[in-house]
Protein backbone atom coordinates (compact mmCIF):
# COMPACT_ATOMS: atom_id res chain seq x y z
CA UNK A 1 0.00 0.00 0.00
CA UNK A 2 1.33 3.42 -0.85
CA UNK A 3 1.06 6.22 1.66
CA UNK A 4 -0.46 9.61 1.18
CA UNK A 5 1.06 11.70 -1.60
CA UNK A 6 1.57 14.68 0.68
CA UNK A 7 0.97 13.85 4.32
CA UNK A 8 -2.02 15.82 5.51
CA UNK A 9 -2.53 17.60 2.21
CA UNK A 10 -6.31 17.12 2.32
CA UNK A 11 -6.40 19.10 5.55
CA UNK A 12 -5.27 22.19 3.72
CA UNK A 13 -6.92 21.45 0.39
CA UNK A 14 -10.36 21.06 1.96
CA UNK A 15 -10.12 24.07 4.27
CA UNK A 16 -12.33 27.13 4.14
CA UNK A 17 -9.27 29.27 3.43
CA UNK A 18 -8.55 27.34 0.25
CA UNK A 19 -12.06 27.90 -1.10
CA UNK A 20 -11.06 31.35 -2.28
CA UNK A 21 -8.50 29.85 -4.66
CA UNK A 22 -11.03 27.79 -6.54
CA UNK A 23 -11.33 28.94 -10.12
CA UNK A 24 -14.04 31.50 -10.38
CA UNK A 25 -15.74 31.76 -13.73
CA UNK A 26 -19.36 31.72 -14.74
CA UNK A 27 -20.71 28.30 -15.59
CA UNK A 28 -22.60 28.22 -18.82
CA UNK A 29 -26.34 28.04 -18.39
CA UNK A 30 -28.11 24.94 -19.55
CA UNK A 31 -28.13 24.53 -23.33
CA UNK A 32 -31.87 24.48 -23.09
CA UNK A 33 -34.76 23.06 -21.14
CA UNK A 34 -38.20 22.41 -22.58
CA UNK A 35 -41.18 22.17 -20.28
CA UNK A 36 -44.18 20.42 -21.81
CA UNK A 37 -47.64 20.36 -20.26
CA UNK A 38 -49.37 17.19 -21.36
CA UNK A 39 -52.92 18.16 -20.38
CA UNK A 40 -55.01 21.12 -19.30
CA UNK A 41 -54.45 20.54 -15.57
CA UNK A 42 -50.72 20.61 -16.13
CA UNK A 43 -51.00 23.65 -18.39
CA UNK A 44 -52.29 25.82 -15.56
CA UNK A 45 -49.30 24.98 -13.41
CA UNK A 46 -46.84 25.46 -16.25
CA UNK A 47 -48.32 28.83 -17.23
CA UNK A 48 -47.86 30.09 -13.68
CA UNK A 49 -44.20 29.06 -13.54
CA UNK A 50 -43.58 30.50 -17.01
CA UNK A 51 -44.42 33.96 -15.68
CA UNK A 52 -40.96 34.00 -14.07
CA UNK A 53 -38.28 35.10 -16.54
CA UNK A 54 -36.05 32.14 -17.49
CA UNK A 55 -32.89 32.23 -19.55
CA UNK A 56 -32.98 28.87 -21.28
CA UNK A 57 -36.39 27.37 -20.54
CA UNK A 58 -39.20 27.32 -23.08
CA UNK A 59 -42.72 26.26 -22.24
CA UNK A 60 -45.20 24.35 -24.37
CA UNK A 61 -48.47 22.50 -24.31
CA UNK A 62 -48.53 19.20 -26.22
CA UNK A 63 -51.37 19.29 -28.75
CA UNK A 64 -51.33 16.12 -30.81
CA UNK A 65 -49.01 13.26 -31.56
CA UNK A 66 -48.99 12.53 -35.28
CA UNK A 67 -47.40 9.95 -37.53
CA UNK A 68 -44.75 11.48 -39.74
CA UNK A 69 -42.68 8.52 -40.79
CA UNK A 70 -39.46 9.70 -42.29
CA UNK A 71 -39.60 13.32 -41.15
CA UNK A 72 -36.71 14.58 -39.01
CA UNK A 73 -35.49 11.02 -38.60
CA UNK A 74 -38.11 10.29 -35.99
CA UNK A 75 -40.94 7.81 -36.19
CA UNK A 76 -43.63 10.22 -35.01
CA UNK A 77 -44.01 13.88 -34.30
CA UNK A 78 -45.72 15.92 -31.59
CA UNK A 79 -47.25 19.28 -32.28
CA UNK A 80 -46.60 21.77 -29.52
CA UNK A 81 -48.28 25.07 -28.86
CA UNK A 82 -46.20 27.68 -27.06
CA UNK A 83 -47.93 29.62 -24.31
CA UNK A 84 -48.49 32.56 -26.66
CA UNK A 85 -50.13 30.30 -29.22
CA UNK A 86 -47.34 29.66 -31.73
CA UNK A 87 -47.11 26.17 -33.19
CA UNK A 88 -43.87 24.20 -32.86
CA UNK A 89 -42.74 20.65 -33.56
CA UNK A 90 -41.09 18.30 -31.07
CA UNK A 91 -38.22 17.37 -33.34
CA UNK A 92 -37.35 21.00 -33.95
CA UNK A 93 -37.48 21.84 -30.27
CA UNK A 94 -35.08 19.04 -29.33
CA UNK A 95 -32.17 20.77 -31.03
CA UNK A 96 -29.66 22.07 -28.46
CA UNK A 97 -31.63 20.82 -25.48
CA UNK A 98 -30.28 19.21 -22.30
CA UNK A 99 -33.51 18.29 -20.60
CA UNK A 100 -37.21 17.85 -21.21
CA UNK A 101 -39.59 18.16 -18.29
CA UNK A 102 -43.04 16.69 -18.86
CA UNK A 103 -45.87 17.74 -16.56
CA UNK A 104 -49.05 15.68 -16.40
CA UNK A 105 -52.15 15.51 -14.24
CA UNK A 106 -53.94 12.68 -16.07
CA UNK A 107 -53.39 10.04 -18.73
CA UNK A 108 -54.63 12.40 -21.45
CA UNK A 109 -51.18 12.98 -22.92
CA UNK A 110 -49.93 9.40 -22.85
CA UNK A 111 -49.28 9.23 -26.59
CA UNK A 112 -47.39 12.51 -26.60
CA UNK A 113 -45.40 11.43 -23.54
CA UNK A 114 -44.38 8.17 -25.19
CA UNK A 115 -43.31 9.99 -28.33
CA UNK A 116 -41.32 12.59 -26.43
CA UNK A 117 -39.66 9.91 -24.30
CA UNK A 118 -38.65 7.89 -27.35
CA UNK A 119 -37.30 10.93 -29.18
CA UNK A 120 -35.25 11.96 -26.13
CA UNK A 121 -33.88 8.44 -25.64
CA UNK A 122 -32.59 8.43 -29.20
CA UNK A 123 -30.87 11.78 -28.70
CA UNK A 124 -29.61 11.18 -25.15
CA UNK A 125 -31.68 14.03 -23.74
CA UNK A 126 -32.50 13.86 -20.02
CA UNK A 127 -36.16 13.50 -19.17
CA UNK A 128 -38.10 14.27 -16.02
CA UNK A 129 -41.78 13.78 -15.29
CA UNK A 130 -43.77 15.83 -12.80
CA UNK A 131 -46.99 14.25 -11.58
CA UNK A 132 -49.36 17.08 -10.79
CA UNK A 133 -52.66 16.76 -8.93
CA UNK A 134 -54.37 13.91 -7.13
CA UNK A 135 -54.69 11.37 -9.93
CA UNK A 136 -51.20 10.08 -9.24
CA UNK A 137 -51.44 6.34 -9.94
CA UNK A 138 -52.78 6.77 -13.45
CA UNK A 139 -50.46 9.64 -14.27
CA UNK A 140 -47.38 7.83 -12.98
CA UNK A 141 -48.17 4.89 -15.23
CA UNK A 142 -48.18 7.28 -18.20
CA UNK A 143 -44.89 8.98 -17.37
CA UNK A 144 -42.84 6.09 -15.97
CA UNK A 145 -41.87 4.50 -19.27
CA UNK A 146 -40.70 7.78 -20.75
CA UNK A 147 -38.97 9.72 -17.93
CA UNK A 148 -35.70 9.02 -16.16
CA UNK A 149 -36.96 10.64 -12.99
CA UNK A 150 -40.45 11.20 -11.63
CA UNK A 151 -41.55 13.59 -8.89
CA UNK A 152 -44.75 12.40 -7.22
CA UNK A 153 -46.66 14.59 -6.55
CA UNK A 154 -45.25 17.88 -7.78
CA UNK A 155 -46.49 21.44 -7.85
CA UNK A 156 -45.32 24.71 -9.34
CA UNK A 157 -42.67 25.24 -6.70
CA UNK A 158 -41.12 21.86 -7.57
CA UNK A 159 -40.96 22.82 -11.24
CA UNK A 160 -39.42 26.13 -10.29
CA UNK A 161 -36.81 24.46 -8.04
CA UNK A 162 -35.95 22.01 -10.80
CA UNK A 163 -35.51 24.78 -13.37
CA UNK A 164 -33.28 26.79 -11.03
CA UNK A 165 -31.19 23.70 -10.25
CA UNK A 166 -30.80 23.02 -13.98
CA UNK A 167 -29.65 26.60 -14.61
CA UNK A 168 -32.55 27.14 -16.96
Amino acid sequence: MTGPIFPGSSVKAASAAELRFRLDYPLAPSRGVRVVALDSGAELMVRKVAETPWTKAKFFVAETAISTQGMHGGPVEVVFRSLDGAVALLNDELEDVDSIIMVASSDYGSEAAATIGAACAVRGIMTAGLVHGDNTELTVSVLRPCAQVLLVPADGSDLEALLIALRA
Binding site: A14, R22, I101, T127, V140, Q148, A165
Partner: protein, 428 residues
Protein backbone atom coordinates in the same frame (compact mmCIF):
# COMPACT_ATOMS: atom_id res chain seq x y z
CA UNK B 1 -27.40 25.22 -8.58
CA UNK B 2 -28.88 26.92 -5.57
CA UNK B 3 -29.10 30.63 -4.90
CA UNK B 4 -26.57 31.81 -2.32
CA UNK B 5 -29.18 33.01 0.16
CA UNK B 6 -30.91 29.63 0.06
CA UNK B 7 -27.61 27.81 0.51
CA UNK B 8 -26.97 29.91 3.60
CA UNK B 9 -30.47 29.31 4.91
CA UNK B 10 -30.09 25.53 4.58
CA UNK B 11 -26.56 25.22 5.94
CA UNK B 12 -26.64 27.51 8.98
CA UNK B 13 -28.06 25.82 12.09
CA UNK B 14 -26.93 28.00 14.97
CA UNK B 15 -29.36 29.67 17.41
CA UNK B 16 -31.90 32.02 15.84
CA UNK B 17 -31.27 30.82 12.30
CA UNK B 18 -34.25 29.46 10.31
CA UNK B 19 -32.69 26.01 9.83
CA UNK B 20 -31.44 26.03 13.42
CA UNK B 21 -34.99 26.69 14.57
CA UNK B 22 -36.17 23.81 12.38
CA UNK B 23 -33.69 21.35 13.91
CA UNK B 24 -34.81 22.52 17.34
CA UNK B 25 -38.30 21.13 16.67
CA UNK B 26 -37.01 17.54 16.79
CA UNK B 27 -35.56 15.06 19.24
CA UNK B 28 -32.04 14.56 17.87
CA UNK B 29 -29.08 12.38 18.89
CA UNK B 30 -26.74 14.17 21.30
CA UNK B 31 -24.49 11.30 22.41
CA UNK B 32 -24.15 7.56 22.23
CA UNK B 33 -25.28 6.01 25.50
CA UNK B 34 -21.83 4.40 25.79
CA UNK B 35 -20.33 7.88 26.25
CA UNK B 36 -21.95 8.15 29.69
CA UNK B 37 -21.62 4.50 30.71
CA UNK B 38 -22.24 4.68 34.46
CA UNK B 39 -23.42 6.92 37.28
CA UNK B 40 -20.97 9.69 38.20
CA UNK B 41 -18.85 8.95 35.12
CA UNK B 42 -16.76 11.75 33.61
CA UNK B 43 -18.79 14.47 31.87
CA UNK B 44 -18.57 14.82 28.09
CA UNK B 45 -18.27 17.98 26.05
CA UNK B 46 -21.08 18.17 23.49
CA UNK B 47 -21.38 20.69 20.69
CA UNK B 48 -24.59 20.55 18.68
CA UNK B 49 -26.23 23.17 16.48
CA UNK B 50 -23.34 25.52 17.36
CA UNK B 51 -24.06 25.37 21.12
CA UNK B 52 -21.34 24.34 23.60
CA UNK B 53 -22.88 21.96 26.11
CA UNK B 54 -21.85 19.34 28.63
CA UNK B 55 -23.47 15.94 29.07
CA UNK B 56 -23.29 14.10 32.38
CA UNK B 57 -24.95 11.32 34.37
CA UNK B 58 -25.49 11.87 38.06
CA UNK B 59 -25.27 9.55 41.07
CA UNK B 60 -28.82 8.28 40.52
CA UNK B 61 -28.46 7.69 36.78
CA UNK B 62 -30.22 10.86 35.62
CA UNK B 63 -28.85 12.37 32.42
CA UNK B 64 -28.27 16.08 31.98
CA UNK B 65 -27.23 18.30 29.08
CA UNK B 66 -26.27 21.74 30.35
CA UNK B 67 -24.38 24.87 29.32
CA UNK B 68 -20.69 23.90 29.39
CA UNK B 69 -19.59 26.95 31.33
CA UNK B 70 -19.99 27.84 35.00
CA UNK B 71 -22.22 30.83 35.68
CA UNK B 72 -19.68 32.22 38.12
CA UNK B 73 -16.55 32.96 36.04
CA UNK B 74 -17.12 31.13 32.78
CA UNK B 75 -14.90 28.14 33.55
CA UNK B 76 -15.56 24.95 31.61
CA UNK B 77 -17.42 22.47 33.77
CA UNK B 78 -15.71 19.66 31.85
CA UNK B 79 -13.01 20.04 34.51
CA UNK B 80 -15.66 19.57 37.20
CA UNK B 81 -16.20 16.77 39.69
CA UNK B 82 -19.25 14.59 39.07
CA UNK B 83 -20.28 13.67 42.61
CA UNK B 84 -23.30 13.34 44.90
CA UNK B 85 -25.97 14.13 42.31
CA UNK B 86 -24.31 17.11 40.74
CA UNK B 87 -21.41 18.50 38.81
CA UNK B 88 -19.10 20.67 40.90
CA UNK B 89 -16.98 23.35 39.22
CA UNK B 90 -13.28 22.73 39.81
CA UNK B 91 -12.61 26.45 40.28
CA UNK B 92 -14.71 27.56 43.28
CA UNK B 93 -16.91 24.53 43.90
CA UNK B 94 -20.23 25.79 42.54
CA UNK B 95 -22.42 22.75 41.98
CA UNK B 96 -25.17 22.09 39.39
CA UNK B 97 -27.77 19.36 39.00
CA UNK B 98 -28.86 17.73 35.71
CA UNK B 99 -31.33 20.54 35.03
CA UNK B 100 -28.56 23.14 35.27
CA UNK B 101 -29.88 24.42 38.57
CA UNK B 102 -27.13 25.63 40.86
CA UNK B 103 -27.58 23.72 44.12
CA UNK B 104 -24.54 24.86 46.07
CA UNK B 105 -22.28 27.91 46.25
CA UNK B 106 -19.76 26.99 48.95
CA UNK B 107 -18.63 30.55 49.58
CA UNK B 108 -22.13 31.60 50.60
CA UNK B 109 -23.55 30.99 54.04
CA UNK B 110 -25.45 27.74 54.49
CA UNK B 111 -28.81 29.51 54.71
CA UNK B 112 -28.19 31.73 51.67
CA UNK B 113 -30.73 31.58 48.83
CA UNK B 114 -28.18 32.92 46.33
CA UNK B 115 -27.85 29.70 44.32
CA UNK B 116 -31.61 29.33 43.80
CA UNK B 117 -31.38 32.22 41.35
CA UNK B 118 -28.52 30.71 39.36
CA UNK B 119 -29.49 28.29 36.61
CA UNK B 120 -27.58 27.24 33.53
CA UNK B 121 -29.43 26.67 30.30
CA UNK B 122 -30.17 22.98 29.94
CA UNK B 123 -31.91 20.51 27.69
CA UNK B 124 -33.45 17.11 28.40
CA UNK B 125 -31.28 14.08 27.70
CA UNK B 126 -33.12 10.78 27.34
CA UNK B 127 -31.83 7.27 26.59
CA UNK B 128 -33.77 5.42 23.89
CA UNK B 129 -31.91 2.48 22.38
CA UNK B 130 -28.18 3.11 22.06
CA UNK B 131 -28.61 6.87 21.82
CA UNK B 132 -29.05 9.76 24.25
CA UNK B 133 -31.54 12.12 22.62
CA UNK B 134 -32.10 15.77 23.28
CA UNK B 135 -34.74 18.33 22.40
CA UNK B 136 -33.25 21.82 22.09
CA UNK B 137 -36.39 23.77 21.28
CA UNK B 138 -39.06 25.45 23.38
CA UNK B 139 -39.45 23.08 26.33
CA UNK B 140 -43.16 23.94 26.57
CA UNK B 141 -43.57 22.41 23.11
CA UNK B 142 -41.59 19.22 23.64
CA UNK B 143 -42.86 16.59 21.19
CA UNK B 144 -43.37 12.91 22.07
CA UNK B 145 -40.26 10.74 22.15
CA UNK B 146 -38.86 9.45 18.85
CA UNK B 147 -40.02 6.06 17.56
CA UNK B 148 -37.42 5.06 15.00
CA UNK B 149 -37.46 1.28 14.73
CA UNK B 150 -33.70 0.85 15.14
CA UNK B 151 -33.91 2.45 18.58
CA UNK B 152 -36.91 0.42 19.76
CA UNK B 153 -35.90 -3.16 18.91
CA UNK B 154 -34.14 -5.19 21.66
CA UNK B 155 -30.50 -4.29 22.18
CA UNK B 156 -29.42 -7.69 20.85
CA UNK B 157 -30.85 -6.75 17.45
CA UNK B 158 -29.29 -3.30 16.99
CA UNK B 159 -25.90 -1.56 16.83
CA UNK B 160 -25.12 2.15 16.54
CA UNK B 161 -21.80 3.89 15.97
CA UNK B 162 -20.80 7.46 15.29
CA UNK B 163 -18.08 9.35 13.49
CA UNK B 164 -16.94 12.89 12.98
CA UNK B 165 -17.38 14.36 9.51
CA UNK B 166 -15.58 17.60 8.79
CA UNK B 167 -18.20 19.17 6.55
CA UNK B 168 -21.53 20.91 6.79
CA UNK B 169 -24.39 18.56 7.62
CA UNK B 170 -26.27 19.13 4.35
CA UNK B 171 -23.63 17.88 1.95
CA UNK B 172 -23.29 14.78 4.15
CA UNK B 173 -27.07 14.22 4.16
CA UNK B 174 -27.30 14.69 0.42
CA UNK B 175 -24.94 11.74 -0.04
CA UNK B 176 -27.48 9.65 1.83
CA UNK B 177 -30.23 10.64 -0.58
CA UNK B 178 -28.17 10.17 -3.73
CA UNK B 179 -28.56 6.51 -4.69
CA UNK B 180 -26.84 6.64 -8.07
CA UNK B 181 -23.31 6.95 -6.66
CA UNK B 182 -23.47 3.46 -5.13
CA UNK B 183 -22.80 1.71 -8.45
CA UNK B 184 -19.60 3.73 -8.81
CA UNK B 185 -18.01 4.81 -5.56
CA UNK B 186 -19.05 1.74 -3.56
CA UNK B 187 -18.96 -0.81 -6.38
CA UNK B 188 -16.16 -2.87 -4.84
CA UNK B 189 -17.92 -2.98 -1.48
CA UNK B 190 -20.84 -4.81 -3.01
CA UNK B 191 -18.49 -7.72 -3.73
CA UNK B 192 -16.14 -7.52 -0.74
CA UNK B 193 -17.81 -6.03 2.30
CA UNK B 194 -19.03 -8.69 4.77
CA UNK B 195 -22.18 -6.66 5.47
CA UNK B 196 -23.02 -6.16 1.78
CA UNK B 197 -21.72 -9.09 -0.26
CA UNK B 198 -23.65 -12.09 -1.49
CA UNK B 199 -27.02 -10.41 -2.00
CA UNK B 200 -28.97 -11.27 -5.14
CA UNK B 201 -29.67 -7.59 -5.72
CA UNK B 202 -25.98 -6.69 -6.00
CA UNK B 203 -25.77 -8.05 -9.52
CA UNK B 204 -28.62 -5.79 -10.60
CA UNK B 205 -26.94 -2.86 -8.87
CA UNK B 206 -23.70 -3.46 -10.75
CA UNK B 207 -25.37 -4.43 -14.00
CA UNK B 208 -27.32 -1.24 -14.61
CA UNK B 209 -25.38 1.98 -14.14
CA UNK B 210 -28.16 4.27 -15.32
CA UNK B 211 -30.91 3.96 -12.73
CA UNK B 212 -34.26 5.66 -13.09
CA UNK B 213 -35.75 7.45 -10.08
CA UNK B 214 -39.15 8.04 -8.58
CA UNK B 215 -39.24 10.61 -5.81
CA UNK B 216 -42.43 10.26 -3.80
CA UNK B 217 -43.48 12.72 -1.15
CA UNK B 218 -44.63 11.28 2.19
CA UNK B 219 -45.93 12.77 5.42
CA UNK B 220 -42.48 12.92 6.98
CA UNK B 221 -40.19 13.44 3.99
CA UNK B 222 -39.56 11.44 0.85
CA UNK B 223 -39.19 7.94 -0.50
CA UNK B 224 -36.57 7.91 -3.23
CA UNK B 225 -36.98 4.83 -5.38
CA UNK B 226 -34.13 3.89 -7.73
CA UNK B 227 -35.00 1.26 -10.28
CA UNK B 228 -32.59 -0.79 -12.31
CA UNK B 229 -33.17 -3.51 -14.83
CA UNK B 230 -33.50 -6.93 -13.23
CA UNK B 231 -34.45 -10.08 -15.09
CA UNK B 232 -36.88 -10.04 -18.01
CA UNK B 233 -40.03 -8.04 -17.33
CA UNK B 234 -38.94 -6.91 -13.87
CA UNK B 235 -37.15 -4.04 -12.18
CA UNK B 236 -34.92 -4.08 -9.12
CA UNK B 237 -36.01 -1.26 -6.81
CA UNK B 238 -33.95 0.26 -4.01
CA UNK B 239 -36.09 2.54 -1.87
CA UNK B 240 -34.49 5.09 0.44
CA UNK B 241 -36.61 6.93 3.01
CA UNK B 242 -35.55 10.40 4.03
CA UNK B 243 -37.25 11.88 7.07
CA UNK B 244 -36.97 15.52 7.95
CA UNK B 245 -34.64 16.96 8.85
CA UNK B 246 -31.71 14.53 8.60
CA UNK B 247 -32.62 10.84 8.88
CA UNK B 248 -31.99 8.45 6.02
CA UNK B 249 -32.08 4.68 5.63
CA UNK B 250 -30.12 2.63 3.14
CA UNK B 251 -31.96 -0.11 1.25
CA UNK B 252 -30.92 -3.53 2.62
CA UNK B 253 -29.16 -6.34 0.79
CA UNK B 254 -30.14 -10.00 1.15
CA UNK B 255 -30.32 -11.05 4.79
CA UNK B 256 -27.92 -8.32 5.85
CA UNK B 257 -29.27 -5.85 8.43
CA UNK B 258 -31.19 -2.68 7.68
CA UNK B 259 -29.11 0.42 8.18
CA UNK B 260 -29.10 4.17 8.04
CA UNK B 261 -27.88 7.46 9.40
CA UNK B 262 -28.63 10.61 11.34
CA UNK B 263 -26.63 13.64 10.21
CA UNK B 264 -26.37 16.03 13.15
CA UNK B 265 -24.78 19.48 12.83
CA UNK B 266 -22.00 20.17 15.32
CA UNK B 267 -21.54 23.64 13.88
CA UNK B 268 -21.80 24.89 10.31
CA UNK B 269 -18.56 23.19 9.25
CA UNK B 270 -18.74 19.83 11.05
CA UNK B 271 -21.31 17.16 11.77
CA UNK B 272 -21.73 13.89 13.64
CA UNK B 273 -22.81 10.93 11.60
CA UNK B 274 -24.77 8.44 13.72
CA UNK B 275 -24.90 5.11 11.91
CA UNK B 276 -27.15 2.20 12.84
CA UNK B 277 -27.70 -1.38 11.75
CA UNK B 278 -30.52 -3.57 12.99
CA UNK B 279 -32.47 -6.72 12.31
CA UNK B 280 -36.21 -6.38 12.91
CA UNK B 281 -36.81 -10.06 13.74
CA UNK B 282 -33.54 -11.62 14.88
CA UNK B 283 -30.44 -10.91 16.91
CA UNK B 284 -27.39 -9.61 15.14
CA UNK B 285 -24.85 -12.42 14.87
CA UNK B 286 -21.49 -12.12 16.59
CA UNK B 287 -19.86 -11.87 13.16
CA UNK B 288 -22.20 -9.06 12.08
CA UNK B 289 -21.62 -7.11 15.28
CA UNK B 290 -17.85 -7.56 15.04
CA UNK B 291 -17.86 -6.41 11.41
CA UNK B 292 -19.72 -3.24 12.43
CA UNK B 293 -17.25 -2.58 15.26
CA UNK B 294 -14.40 -3.09 12.77
CA UNK B 295 -15.83 -0.41 10.49
CA UNK B 296 -17.39 -2.52 7.74
CA UNK B 297 -20.74 -1.87 6.12
CA UNK B 298 -21.73 1.75 6.62
CA UNK B 299 -19.70 2.12 9.83
CA UNK B 300 -16.18 3.49 10.17
CA UNK B 301 -13.05 2.27 11.89
CA UNK B 302 -12.33 4.97 14.46
CA UNK B 303 -9.18 5.91 16.34
CA UNK B 304 -9.53 4.00 19.64
CA UNK B 305 -11.11 6.09 22.37
CA UNK B 306 -12.45 8.63 19.88
CA UNK B 307 -15.12 9.02 17.22
CA UNK B 308 -12.57 10.27 14.70
CA UNK B 309 -12.14 7.90 11.75
CA UNK B 310 -8.75 6.24 11.32
CA UNK B 311 -8.96 7.25 7.68
CA UNK B 312 -9.35 11.01 7.84
CA UNK B 313 -8.20 14.10 6.03
CA UNK B 314 -5.05 14.46 8.16
CA UNK B 315 -3.68 11.30 6.49
CA UNK B 316 -5.38 11.74 3.11
CA UNK B 317 -7.80 8.97 4.09
CA UNK B 318 -4.94 6.45 3.63
CA UNK B 319 -5.44 6.77 -0.09
CA UNK B 320 -4.19 3.59 -1.78
CA UNK B 321 -3.63 4.13 -5.50
CA UNK B 322 -2.43 0.55 -5.99
CA UNK B 323 -5.66 -0.85 -4.56
CA UNK B 324 -7.53 1.54 -6.84
CA UNK B 325 -5.59 0.28 -9.85
CA UNK B 326 -6.19 -3.33 -8.85
CA UNK B 327 -9.91 -2.64 -8.65
CA UNK B 328 -10.18 -3.34 -4.93
CA UNK B 329 -11.65 0.11 -4.41
CA UNK B 330 -13.05 2.53 -6.95
CA UNK B 331 -11.65 5.70 -5.39
CA UNK B 332 -8.60 4.30 -3.62
CA UNK B 333 -10.16 4.97 -0.21
CA UNK B 334 -11.14 2.01 1.92
CA UNK B 335 -14.49 1.61 3.67
CA UNK B 336 -17.88 2.73 2.43
CA UNK B 337 -18.40 5.42 5.07
CA UNK B 338 -15.04 7.04 4.45
CA UNK B 339 -15.40 6.77 0.69
CA UNK B 340 -18.39 9.09 1.15
CA UNK B 341 -16.76 11.29 3.78
CA UNK B 342 -13.56 11.80 1.80
CA UNK B 343 -15.42 13.16 -1.21
CA UNK B 344 -17.93 15.21 0.78
CA UNK B 345 -15.15 16.80 2.85
CA UNK B 346 -13.20 17.56 -0.34
CA UNK B 347 -16.02 19.91 -1.36
CA UNK B 348 -14.88 22.24 1.43
CA UNK B 349 -16.54 22.89 4.80
CA UNK B 350 -19.64 24.35 3.14
CA UNK B 351 -19.96 23.59 -0.53
CA UNK B 352 -20.79 26.53 -2.79
CA UNK B 353 -24.00 25.34 -4.38
CA UNK B 354 -24.18 28.35 -6.68
CA UNK B 355 -21.44 26.60 -8.68
CA UNK B 356 -22.95 23.15 -9.00
CA UNK B 357 -24.32 21.69 -12.20
CA UNK B 358 -27.19 19.37 -11.32
CA UNK B 359 -29.03 17.02 -13.65
CA UNK B 360 -32.62 15.86 -13.64
CA UNK B 361 -31.50 12.66 -11.89
CA UNK B 362 -30.63 14.81 -8.87
CA UNK B 363 -34.34 15.43 -8.36
CA UNK B 364 -34.32 13.75 -4.94
CA UNK B 365 -31.74 16.21 -3.64
CA UNK B 366 -33.56 19.13 -5.26
CA UNK B 367 -36.86 18.08 -3.69
CA UNK B 368 -35.34 17.52 -0.24
CA UNK B 369 -33.77 20.98 -0.25
CA UNK B 370 -37.09 22.50 -1.29
CA UNK B 371 -38.95 20.73 1.50
CA UNK B 372 -36.41 21.85 4.11
CA UNK B 373 -36.54 25.44 2.89
CA UNK B 374 -40.34 25.53 2.84
CA UNK B 375 -40.54 23.98 6.31
CA UNK B 376 -38.04 26.44 7.77
CA UNK B 377 -39.93 29.40 6.32
CA UNK B 378 -43.34 28.04 7.38
CA UNK B 379 -42.04 27.53 10.91
CA UNK B 380 -40.64 31.04 11.08
CA UNK B 381 -43.58 32.84 9.47
CA UNK B 382 -46.56 30.75 10.59
CA UNK B 383 -45.24 28.71 13.50
CA UNK B 384 -46.09 25.57 11.56
CA UNK B 385 -44.78 22.37 13.15
CA UNK B 386 -42.69 20.62 10.48
CA UNK B 387 -43.14 17.12 9.13
CA UNK B 388 -41.12 14.44 10.88
CA UNK B 389 -41.83 15.69 14.40
CA UNK B 390 -44.80 13.34 14.77
CA UNK B 391 -43.47 9.92 15.91
CA UNK B 392 -45.89 8.27 13.47
CA UNK B 393 -43.65 9.60 10.70
CA UNK B 394 -40.65 7.75 12.17
CA UNK B 395 -42.03 4.28 11.52
CA UNK B 396 -40.46 3.79 8.11
CA UNK B 397 -38.15 1.22 6.55
CA UNK B 398 -35.97 1.10 3.51
CA UNK B 399 -36.56 -1.79 1.14
CA UNK B 400 -35.15 -3.54 -1.90
CA UNK B 401 -37.60 -5.45 -4.06
CA UNK B 402 -38.01 -6.89 -7.54
CA UNK B 403 -41.30 -5.90 -9.15
CA UNK B 404 -42.97 -6.42 -12.52
CA UNK B 405 -42.14 -3.51 -14.80
CA UNK B 406 -45.66 -2.13 -14.83
CA UNK B 407 -45.87 -1.75 -11.04
CA UNK B 408 -44.95 1.35 -9.04
CA UNK B 409 -43.17 0.70 -5.75
CA UNK B 410 -45.31 3.10 -3.79
CA UNK B 411 -48.53 1.32 -4.75
CA UNK B 412 -47.13 -2.21 -4.82
CA UNK B 413 -45.25 -2.41 -1.54
CA UNK B 414 -46.47 0.35 0.79
CA UNK B 415 -46.59 -2.00 3.79
CA UNK B 416 -42.96 -3.00 3.19
CA UNK B 417 -41.93 0.62 3.69
CA UNK B 418 -43.42 0.72 7.20
CA UNK B 419 -41.80 -0.46 10.41
CA UNK B 420 -43.74 -3.53 11.48
CA UNK B 421 -42.72 -5.27 14.70
CA UNK B 422 -42.03 -8.95 14.16
CA UNK B 423 -42.01 -8.71 10.38
CA UNK B 424 -38.81 -9.20 8.39
CA UNK B 425 -37.52 -6.46 6.10
CA UNK B 426 -38.16 -6.59 2.35
CA UNK B 427 -34.75 -7.26 0.89
CA UNK B 428 -33.25 -8.83 -2.20
Amino acid sequence: MLRQEINELLTQTGPETPMGDLFRQYWIPALLAEELPENDCPPVRVKILSERLLGFRDSEGRYGLIDEFCAHRGVSLWFGRNEENGLRCAYHGWKYDVTGQCVEVPSESSNSRFCSNVKLKSYPLVKIGDILWTFMGDQDKTPPFPEYEFALVPSTQTFTSKRLQESNWLQALEGGIDSSHVSWLHSSGLNNDPLFKGAEGNKYNLGDLKPHFEVVETDGGLYIGARRNADDDSYYWRITPWLMPSFTMVPPRGDHPLHGHFWIPIDDENCWVYTFDYQPVRDLTAAERQAMKDGFGVHSENIPGTYIPVRNKSNDYLMDRDAQKRGETFSGVGGIAIQDASLQESMGPIVDRTKERLATTDAGIIKARAKLRKAAIALREEGKIPEGVDPAHHRVRSASVVLPRDQAFIESVPEKLKARPGVRQASV
